[in-house]
């Protein structure tokens, strides 16, 4: 028990979780922006736009996140000299955010697209019959309902993003949870199970409220038909 308490004073575990939360929040922001652009391209009637968005989504959906993270560090940074900052830690953090955002944007795009699927065709037909033009129908009738329908898959995507933020270890972010756990196990091999349980329950505690909030919001905001 002593060793268990000692772990908390020796290592700053909450700070490691904070790094993961930061990674998640920044990536959520950027991937939402990129995902919205992608879904707009994907549903547009313009062939070249929706082909490019389709290729993007298909590419990132079928690509391991680890290879993207490794590419960000060994390819984009080491070979192509793309860097965000001269400080190593900051640079790797933003490279990881870039990788996570590019990857998650494909899933955000798919979530929003499935939100549009929850709007019955009759809504659009009724809007046209009332004489609304494309812009009015889209902004006042279809998109408000589509956003409500996409709450659930978006929540799922962001839960996956929080779990995926541990893969930042592959992008040399040394302060996040999986790297800290690895380091702690190395020095305290006798406490391997308690160390794992600390981190595992950390994630359980983070993820269960997000899941419950998403379910609540999704039911609350759902359009009753």
């Amino acid at each position: 028990m002593d060793g268990f308490v000692q772990l908390f004073s020796d290592y700053n575990i909450p700070a490691a979780f904070l790094v993961n939360i930061e990674l998640t929040l920044w990536s959520a922001l950027f991937s939402t922006v990129l995902g919205v652009i992608l879904v707009m391209m994907r549903i547009s009637p313009i062939t070249s736009l929706h082909k490019v968005a389709g290729i993007y989504v298909e590419f990132f959906k079928n690509m391991p996140l680890t290879i993207i993270m490794v590419f960000m560090v060994l390819g984009a940074y080491a070979q192509l000299k793309l860097s965000f900052s001269d400080t190593f830690a900051t640079n790797f953090f933003w490279l990881a955010v870039t990788g996570l955002s590019l990857y998650t944007a494909a899933f955000v795009c798919e979530s929003l697209r499935s939100g549009i699927n929850t709007v019955p065709l009759g809504q659009a037909e009724a809007a046209r019959a009332l004489g609304l033009n494309f812009w009015q129908a889209a902004t006042q009738i279809i998109l408000p309902q589509a956003v409500r329908g996409s709450v659930a898959p978006l929540g799922n995507t962001f839960i996956a993003l929080l779990k995926n933020s541990t893969v930042a270890a592959a992008a040399s972010v040394a302060t996040e949870t999986s790297s800290l756990m690895s380091e702690m196990i190395e020095y305290h091999a006798d406490l391997i199970v308690p160390i794992f349980l600390i981190f595992a329950f950390g994630y359980v505690i983070l993820i269960i409220p997000i899941g419950m909030l998403t379910t609540y919001l999704s039911n609350r905001l759902a359009v009753r038909r």
Partner: protein, 380 residues
């Protein structure tokens, strides 16, 4: 528009001559912008700020020649596939055991299975991998990285499959269970002999989608020094200083395998529908977290119109209880609470509304006159 008829039909009218011209102009200008972007990327690769030409054959040749394939990629690919196959078999076994465990009448088994499944779904796979890697090394297991990859993938994907089994059973029509109970089977027998076999077919497309996740997640093994395809391509890249090229080759190999599996998952639903009374999920959403919020029911409601070819009144009760959500037993009850009985379609009728539409059906004097009809003319 070819691959997204649904969304386009909701959002866009058939374009007229004027908008068709605008679409054509925007289409070509967008294509030119993308082409320019592609050329800029290639130029950057050809002439990076300080580094060598990334497109030169000296860098690509060692990443593509026979030696690279026979000594690095193919052994790596074999390691990746080996872990994938074992993890898939393991997660199906784990998923069936715990999925059925969560449905059994026994409260103790049900709650233990529930806690384990929810725990395994919430913890990131990489955490599991690092833990088991060190743990197996500590126990002195041979090939600790391989077993760490397999066990972690089994725990996570197995718990996802468990949820798929559970939702598959929950999506079956009530009649299946009622008929088997009426025939004298016990709850457990009905579950094992009638419900789960059908649930397995309903969940198969979603499970194949999960295969893609297993294949993708084996790449996490490279973080714990498992010599999979990614790790081998990194080793080759550090030998010839052409990591960009070797990573590109590995990425193409991963993509091809995942893409083929994705196509299989898209092709399966049609096949599987014949073998089960439940609705096979077409757009599969992996239940990745607790309560797994999903909008499959909302999508099903939106597509109800296709089942009513001549239109007709919108349904009063949308009987879609799909997806794996927290309490399937509750869904069974809500059907009765809502008052809709699938065996009697006439219960879709809204008698209250019909009464309002046809005043003759009004009970004499019992209903208060509404604001609209000012009076007692036909009440007397």
């Amino acid at each position: 528009m070819a691959n997204a008829p649904g969304e386009s039909a909701v959002l866009f009218d058939q374009p007229g001559p004027k908008s068709r011209r605008i679409i054509r102009i925007v289409n070509w200008s967008a294509a030119i912008v993308f082409a320019i972007a592609l050329v800029l990327v290639l130029l950057r690769l050809y002439n990076p700020p300080d580094g060598e030409n990334q497109l030169s054959w000296e860098l690509w040749k060692p990443a593509l020649d026979g030696e690279a394939w026979s000594d690095f990629y193919l052994p790596g690919l074999w390691m990746t596939l080996r872990a994938t196959i074992l993890a898939v078999i393991g997660s199906v076994v784990f998923g069936l055991a715990f999925g059925i465990g969560r449905l059994l009448p026994n409260v103790v088994i049900r709650s233990i299975a529930g806690v384990i499944v929810e725990f395994c779904r919430a913890v990131p796979v990489l955490m599991f991998m690092i833990f088991f890697w060190r743990f197996f090394a500590f126990l002195g297991v041979e090939g600790e990285a391989y077993w760490a990859v397999v066990v972690s993938l089994v725990l996570y994907n197995g718990s996802v499959v468990a949820e798929l089994v559970r939702s598959g059973v929950g999506n079956l029509p009530n009649g299946q269970r009622e008929a088997s109970l009426a025939l004298g089977l016990t709850h457990t027998q009905s579950l094992m002999e009638i419900e789960v076999p059908q649930a397995v077919f309903a969940m198969l497309p979603a499970a194949v989608t999960q295969l893609v996740v297993v294949l993708k997640d084996t790449a996490l093994g490279s973080i714990i020094m498992y010599t999979d395809l990614l790790q081998e391509s990194r080793r080759l890249g550090s030998m010839y200083f052409n990591i960009l090229q070797t990573l590109a080759v590995a990425a193409v190999v991963y993509f091809v395998f995942c893409w083929l599996l994705s196509r299989l998952a898209e092709w399966l639903p049609k096949r599987m529908q014949q073998r089960t009374a439940a609705a096979v999920e077409h757009e599969t959403v992996a239940p990745i977290a607790i309560m797994d919020p999903s909008n499959v029911n909302q999508i099903a409601v939106a597509h109800e119109m296709k089942q009513r070819p001549y239109g007709g009144a919108p349904r009063r009760y949308h009987v879609h209880h799909r997806g794996s959500n927290a309490s399937i037993r509750e869904w069974r009850r809500t059907r009765y609470m809502q008052g809709y009985d699938e065996t009697h379609p006439e219960s879709q009728r809204d008698f209250q509304k019909e009464k309002e539409a046809w005043p003759f059906f009004k009970d004499n004097g019992k209903d208060k006159p509404r604001n609209g009809d000012s009076g007692s003319t036909h009440n007397q």
